[in-house]
């Protein structure tokens, strides 16, 4: 009972972060929302008894993808406001 409730809450928040990532006008906000999306997805994988997949999703979705997206954003903005 409690497990299914927790899973339901996580699924709702997954939808919320996905909608925010697509709807927001600011690209950086979308990328940070995608990072939270990855963490929620990895917790869901743990709830669905897939610890290997959860570990990969946590490292890739929250760590590596965020780094790559942030590098892309800093490369595709004007020179004066990027380091």
């Amino acid at each position: 009972m409690h497990e299914s409730m927790l899973t339901g809450i996580l699924l709702v928040f997954l939808l919320v972060t996905a909608v925010f990532a697509v709807a927001t006008r600011y690209v950086l906000h979308a990328v940070l929302s995608l990072s939270i999306f990855g963490i929620l997805l990895s917790v869901l994988f743990v709830m669905y008894q897939a610890p290997d997949v959860a570990m990969a999703e946590a490292v890739v979705g929250a760590g590596l993808m965020t780094a790559l997206f942030v590098v892309t954003i800093s490369k595709t903005t004007n020179r004066d406001d990027s380091a």
Binding site: L15, V22, F69, K75
Partner: protein, 116 residues
């Protein structure tokens, strides 16, 4: 027709796929399109992992006294898909950086105006 789908997770899978597809269709910023593609991919990962699981299962790591395990085959496929998705997204992002170097913008509308 849809009576057998009782689990909320399948609806979330469809919802995530449609949200990501909506982003790909309507956004003009190339980075936002990459984000939409990532969300579509994540919905399919969730579908595969949900299909491998039925309530009461344990993770597929064999130990004594446990009878029901989650199905390891879709989980292995999901693991493969995550790493491949990361490397192909990296390639996509490098193409976006190259596009910016060439056009000075990542907005599809502006790029189309320059092409004309």
């Amino acid at each position: 027709m849809w009576g057998e789908i009782v689990d909320f997770a399948y609806w979330v899978v469809v919802g995530l796929f449609l949200i990501g597809f909506f982003g790909v269709l309507t956004d003009t910023n190339l980075i936002k399109i990459a984000i939409g593609l990532n969300i579509m991919e994540a919905s399919l990962l969730l579908l595969l992992v949900r299909l491998a699981f039925s309530p009461g299962d344990s993770p597929p790591i064999v130990s004594e006294g446990i009878l029901n395990y989650a199905d390891p085959v879709p989980q292995a496929l999901t693991l493969t898909a995550i790493v491949i998705g990361a490397s192909t997204t990296a390639l996509l992002l490098s193409f976006i950086i190259k596009t910016y170097k060439y056009y000075g913008s990542v907005d599809l509308k502006e790029i189309r105006r320059m092409e004309r």
